[in-house]
């Protein structure tokens, strides 16, 4: 297993370089110059930041300065090399927007995104596994059909629409006021509040965003669960267990369930990059300052260092996720062996 691990790790390196190179090229070959954009009054510059020609000289100087400061005046391969070199020292550079280190920007937003996504993954599993079990054990019954239908209807509902509906109807507009319409804490929030009150406030604010982030996942995961279980139920050992006279509960929950959880574990590892990727849509609807929002704004503003940092981190997590799922699979499934057969 040791040599297999080394092999896998070594393979990660070219893959990682490839991913960053492609990201870098896509970002740079897309039209739009951050220095010009900045000179034009930033992203939301009203109208067009037009400047008189004789004054244009000053702006051109500034743009040239920025380009030099950002290293944009160098040829692309050199820029990429510099970026790679900095990466080895874990230096992601500074944002073009306000000269703050990119690492700080990510650090500032990371906890929110992780919290949101961990809760959401938890919720998806919490709902989808029982749903899948029910569907499998009652396959082709009315109940199975209904839950499947329900899960797929949810899957088909766009989050933009459902999220907006939730805000309009549940968040204190002209209808009910059950949840806050966005943000992370109440107006009168105070760090001096007792723990339970702070937790309550958090839960109250995170409920709808987590739900919105999760509901579409119910369908997919419960289907995996269902098919996994059905496949197991058809196996000979189930027949054997049943003929031995084991009660149905033990057959299902001890033998079948454990085996059919294997794919669920590997899917979990695949969700890892999503942990920091965040969700642009949900974060935007609920005004949550997470990484999705950061990335979206950075792309629009051509804030290359921020974009590249986010690409890199999520590429790394994706690669690690794949590696992890392979390893997990080996751990839960004794039929898989690494390298030479033992």
């Amino acid at each position: 297993m040791g040599s297999y691990l080394v092999q896998r790790f070594l393979l990660l390196i070219p893959t990682f370089v490839g991913v960053t190179l492609i990201s870098f090229l896509i970002m740079r070959l897309a039209p739009g110059d951050p220095a010009e954009l900045r000179a034009g009054g930033g992203l939301r510059g009203a109208g067009e930041g037009g400047l008189a020609t004789e004054k244009r000289g000053v702006v051109d100087t500034a743009i040239a300065q920025w380009r030099a400061q950002y290293g944009l005046d160098k040829p692309l391969p050199v820029q990429y090399a510099v970026w790679m070199k900095n990466l080895f020292t874990l230096n992601f550079g500074e944002s073009y927007k306000d000269n703050q280190p990119v690492v700080d920007k990510i650090r500032e937003r990371l906890p929110v995104t992780i919290k949101l996504n961990l809760l959401s993954i938890f919720l998806v599993y919490l709902v989808a596994i029982p749903l899948g079990i029910y569907s499998a054990t009652h396959s082709y019954s009315i109940g199975d059909q209904l839950t499947t239908l329900f899960a797929f209807v949810l899957f088909a509902l766009p989050v933009v629409w459902l999220g907006t509906m939730a805000i309009v109807f549940l968040c204190g507009g002209d209808f009910w006021f059950i949840f806050p319409p966005g943000g992370l804490s109440s107006i009168d929030y105070s760090p001096d509040w007792p723990l339970w009150q702070r937790l309550k406030d958090q839960a109250w604010h995170l409920f709808l965003p987590v739900l919105m982030l999760s509901y579409a996942g119910f369908a997919g995961l419960s289907r995996y669960m269902r098919s996994g279980m059905l496949e197991q139920l058809r196996q000979d050992f189930v027949q054997t267990a049943r003929s031995k006279g084991l009660p149905e509960g033990i057959v299902i929950y001890k033998h079948v369930l454990r085996n059919s959880l294997i794919p669920m574990v590997t899917i979990l590892a695949g969700l890892l990059p999503g942990l920091i990727g965040g969700s642009v849509i949900v974060e935007t609807i609920f005004s949550i300052p997470g990484l999705g929002q950061l990335g979206y704004e950075a792309v629009l503003a051509r804030d290359f260092p921020v974009v590249m940092a986010l690409f890199t981190v999520s590429a790394l997590l994706t690669l690690l996720g794949i590696l992890l799922s392979d390893l997990l699979l080996a751990m839960v499934d004794p039929r898989i062996a690494f390298g030479r057969r033992g």
Binding site: P31, G41, R56, C171, G172, P181, D188, F286
Partner: protein, 580 residues
Amino acid sequence: MMAVRKLALVALLVTVAVGPASRSFGQAQPTPVTGDWLLAHILSDPEQLNPLTSNDAGASAILGYIVQTLLTRDPRTLELKPLLAEARPTIAADKLTYTFKIRKDAHFQDGRKLTGEDVLFSVKAIKNPLVNAPFARVYYESVTDAQLVDEHTIRFSIKEPYFLNETMLGGIEVLPRHYYDPQNLMKDVGIKDLADPAKLSDNAKKFAEQFNKNYSRNPMGSGPYKFQAWKTGQEVELVRDPKYWGIGKPGIDQAYFDRHRYRVINNPDAALTSLKSGSLDTMGLQPLQHMQQTGGDRFKKDFEKHEYFSPNYSYIGWNNDHPIFSDKRVRKAMTHLTDRKQMVKTILFNLGQVVDGPIYFHRPEYDKSLASIPYDPKKALELLAEAGWKDSDGDGILDKTIDGKKVPFRFEIKFNSGNTTRKSVALALQDELKKHGIGATVRELDWTVFLSEIKGRKYDAMILGWAMSVTEPDAYQVWHSSQAANKGSNHIAYKNPRVDKILEEYRREFDPKKRIELYREFQKILHDDQPYTFLFTPKSISAVSRRFRGVEVLPIGGLRPLDWWTPAGAQKYGSKPSNN
């Protein structure tokens, strides 16, 4: 633009009154009291809060409460009046020297006295070529020198006479030197030393580096509100400075709310819901929200809606170098084919007004005698025929022989993606033109791409907008022929020698009456040339909580939250101490 923003407290809120403007003047007003909070809405974080290097409108609004200028403008009359200066400056006869006396009683939010040294430092900071403030620097380029006469007197030397120089100098935002330059690195650097970036001293370089990097999120000044906190993506919070130097001083702005909290809500639907549920006190409403979602009795009980013009206009720019649009008869025909009244009705939901020139219609320079060009397809076709456009080959598209080649009347309208108003205008025009044998295609482009194509004049027609000045306008930058070169703002390449002359003379004219005359003529020429098809000026609508007093649309337009207050009995947040 920077010059406007410099007189921030007035300028950013200035728009024009309609509807309930003439409310209760002269009536005895109760005395305002302090206390309560203002929860206002912003769509996104400011990019940064450095008074010099930030360049976005969101930051200007907030910084206007924190940092002050030498002069300001009366929010009602727009007259220049002193703020940190004792009086308006003494101007030398040759109009090249301006001397300001600075108030002796002003101090910064940390208690340190504000002196001429701070003013001098602020100018040097702007002029330092390595400071990320090229936009501000552009406006102060004509400042050739500044000297302290004594601790509270500063004298500026100016390159050439220009009637807006007083506004420009008066708009200097006075930054505390001891805070923004604690090591006093700029002490021995003179204004003249800053002219050449190549010869910059090490201290000036070091200052610029620190200034660009360390002051993005912690502004400080002498204004009525202090910066308190900025939670990224959540809110920016200001608190009233209880030791503000201007408290109780006549003619100086007072502040009443204990707190201003700018809540970042990037989804307009969520913002409206927040407003209704009480977690916002005021927000700008979108037209649809105004028409359909804010008419209920409950809403009317809690909020009042205020309607006013936003001083900007949209236009269709015709590339004046283009073989088709270089003929002014064609441009006129295009305006006749643009049903602007209908567009205001259907695209702006009647929240706007058709405009026919670049001068704001509430300015004295505005020429009311010019008739608006009506929607008139018949007249348009006559003009086109006169210009030689007819369907000679019967293919349904007008054509004309230009330079021996038959050219069909086909062109492309470009605009930036995401702007639904511009898209609707383009589509409506396309539809209309089709009926008359003109083939227009529309093209949406990403903002940055759009900008570079406009600047490179790679377009036939495009839809854009300009802000209009609510104070004395200066149209030089947009209309002077010299600005057509080198990616200047005259990106349609409009060239008229008489207009050039007017624009130049106007800038040197210190007599307001003569300036008005000059600009009346300028507007007549533009009207005849039709370089743009001017479209409309939109109206804005804001909802404001009814618990506030002092909320009024100013005679010259806009709302001014600095004047708002809540009677003691109605205060929602009282005078609670800070939680942060």
